[in-house]
């Protein structure tokens, strides 16, 4: 296996790991923890949407399952939080496999795929808002127990490092996918399903694999959310907000690129906070500004920030090449 491409991941994670040593402000750390959480959830979406070309509008289904399973196992069954965390990820992956098997076997693609995933997430939201085990409309509150064994910490910094570790693992997973036959097949299915079939690829298997990995990563974000806020209800867990955050980060950052979701999450979150500062007390104005920023990014950077950076580098190269060119013309 090639180690090429590992270095940027190591550097990026190492630099981010130093942040809590420099910044102790809870507001900033809280902002960064949420941004990392969105980066994680977005990376999950990116595996299926960015690399596999299957645009899901229902990643809340996996996020919510992770969050609820972690919370319910602790509250109702006395399971250790860390064990609950792992089981939450497994449950999310299972939900991904089930939905994937149903959707991909029936050959749903494009907007149909998007709508059906949205429908699954909404069904789960409604079920969670009435089922007694999820606390129905009241939600589930995890008991305060500030011990590391219980996955709860006095300060923000440990949460920050855990979120960063999860993002680092997700980066490694995507790196491995990029270097593997599975990754090549996934991209081939995204680019042209008929051509992929003719080359010996079973698109259903490949997409199902991607959906399972994608769901597991996104569920990890849900599990983390439950531990960080110690509260889950149906609107938070299965609400459309997280499905949108999940796809916004990679779309803004750069679809099908390894750093796209992280870049996108930081920019989207920063834009949201900046909009709040600019808008002041006017209710809703921050969302208007936020929306305008997103429209501008999508209009002028079709391939996200990562694509914009590549374009910029190529333009620079062309410009420097042109500077060298004139003497040749003089000879001619």
């Amino acid at each position: 296996m090639s180690t090429r491409g590992l270095l940027p991941i190591v550097i990026c994670v190492a630099l981010l790991a130093l942040v809590p040593l420099v910044i102790t402000s809870n507001v900033v750390l809280n902002f960064l923890v949420i941004a990392l959480l969105i980066a994680l959830v977005g990376q999950g979406w990116n595996v299926l949407g960015g690399y596999g070309g299957q645009y899901s509008f229902g990643h809340a289904a996996f996020f919510g399952t992770g969050a609820y399973v972690t919370a319910i196992l602790q509250v109702h069954y006395g399971v250790n939080a860390w064990v609950g965390f792992v089981l939450g990820i497994a449950a999310g992956a299972l939900v991904g496999t089930i939905i994937g098997a149903l959707v991909f076997r029936s050959g749903l693609r494009g907007s149909y795929f998007a709508l059906v995933t949205l429908a699954f997430a909404e069904v789960l939201r409604i079920l969670a808002s009435v089922a007694p085990i999820t606390g129905a409309g009241v939600g589930t509150l995890i008991k305060l127990d500030l011990r590391p064994e219980a996955f709860q910490f006095q300060s923000r910094a440990p949460f920050y490092w855990i979120a960063l570790a999860l993002v680092a693992i997700s980066l490694l997973i995507v790196h491995l996918i990029e270097q593997s036959r599975f990754g090549a097949y996934l991209v081939a299915v995204r680019e042209n399903e008929d051509a992929a079939k003719a080359l010996g690829i079973n698109p259903v298997t490949v997409k199902l694999g991607a959906m399972t990995i994608s769901a597991a990563i996104t569920a990890a974000g849900g599990c983390f959310y439950a531990q960080y806020f110690l509260f889950v209800d149906s609107g938070i867990a299965y609400g459309p907000w997280i499905s949108i955050e999940a796809l916004l980060a990679p779309v803004i950052g750069g679809l099908g690129t390894i750093f796209g979701p992280l870049l996108g999450a930081l920019v989207v979150r920063a834009a949201g906070e900046a909009a709040k500062l600019v808008a002041g007390d006017a209710p809703g104005l921050d969302l208007v500004i936020y929306g305008c920023v997103l429209i501008l990014v999508i209009a002028f950077a079709g391939r996200g920030i990562a694509g914009l950076l590549t374009d910029l580098r190529e333009t620079m190269q062309r410009l420097t090449a042109r500077k060298v060119a004139p003497p040749e013309h003089a000879h001619g």
């Binding site: 090639s2 991209v187 995204r190 079939k197 003719a198 080359l199 010996g200």
Partner: protein, 252 residues
């Protein structure tokens, strides 16, 4: 006579009221080039799609090396050693030439590095060696046809189905491509090709099957077939053969 690697028996396929294929049979001898020709709308691409697993025939069987493969999905056929190209080229546009070919090479090579290396070799064999790092989307029509061929070839097929790989090429590009195809046969790959470019069919194919209105109307060596009055009529209209003879314009 060598054994038939591919044998198609009595394939029929209807699309609503249109009988695209009626009781079509053909065979391809191992290690040979077999051409399937016929006027536009004859059902050639339908027959191809039925062989390659993209369409399920209503009736009939497809035998490959003696096994019944009728209705097997394309990805399973690819694993059995049947590769195809598409008439309308289907590049993986977002990928480079090397990455495109590597997807095919992955069929027998799980490791990324091996597949990428094999892709380079295949690219050189079809004359794409100097364009490996170009984006597939930026290629010319001729180069895209070569890429289509290279990707299929990279799967290491025993039977290669070529759907009009020469269509849309200019005469000099066709001249460049013909030796590439005969070199593939020389490696022991059996080829079944749909082709409109008769000059290429004449120089490449050992056997020609002629399809018209969904039925096989003639079969034989290229020269024989081209002189067959039924074939001439299928292309030029009823009575054309006798008019040609009467007019003194000899058909080769």
């Amino acid at each position: 006579m060598a054994d038939a690697l591919l044998r198609v028996e009595g394939l029929s396929k209807r699309f609503g009221g249109l009988a695209a294929l009626t009781d079509a049979s053909l065979s391809a001898e191992a290690g040979s080039i077999t051409a399937l020709i016929g006027p536009n709308g004859a059902g050639k691409t339908t027959l191809f799609a039925a062989i390659a697993g993209f369409l399920r025939p209503d009736r009939g069987r497809v035998l490959y090396g003696g096994n019944n493969i009728t209705g097997e999905p394309p990805y399973k056929l690819a694993r059995r050693g049947i590769a195809r190209t598409f008439q309308i080229v289907q590049p993986l546009a977002g990928l480079s030439v090397r990455e495109n070919i590597a997807v095919g090479a992955h069929l027998s090579r799980p490791a990324r590095a091996d597949a990428l290396e094999a892709a380079g070799e295949v690219a050189r064999a079809v004359g794409l060696g100097d364009q490996l790092d170009k984006s597939a989307a930026s290629l010319t029509v001729a180069a895209r046809k070569r890429l289509e061929l290279a990707r299929a070839l990279a799967t290491g097929p025993k039977l290669l189905l070529l759907d009009e790989v020469l269509a849309g090429l200019n005469p000099s590009e066709i001249r460049d491509m013909v030796p590439v195809i005969s070199a593939i046969r020389a490696r022991g790959v059996t080829i079944l090709m749909i082709e409109h470019v008769m000059q290429a069919v004449m120089s490449l194919a050992e056997q020609v099957w002629v399809l018209a209105e969904g039925r096989i109307i003639a079969q034989g060596a290229p020269r024989e077939v081209a002189g067959n009055p039924r074939v001439v009529e299928a292309y030029l209209g009823h009575g054309a053969a006798s008019r040609l003879v009467a007019g003194g314009a000899g058909v080769q």
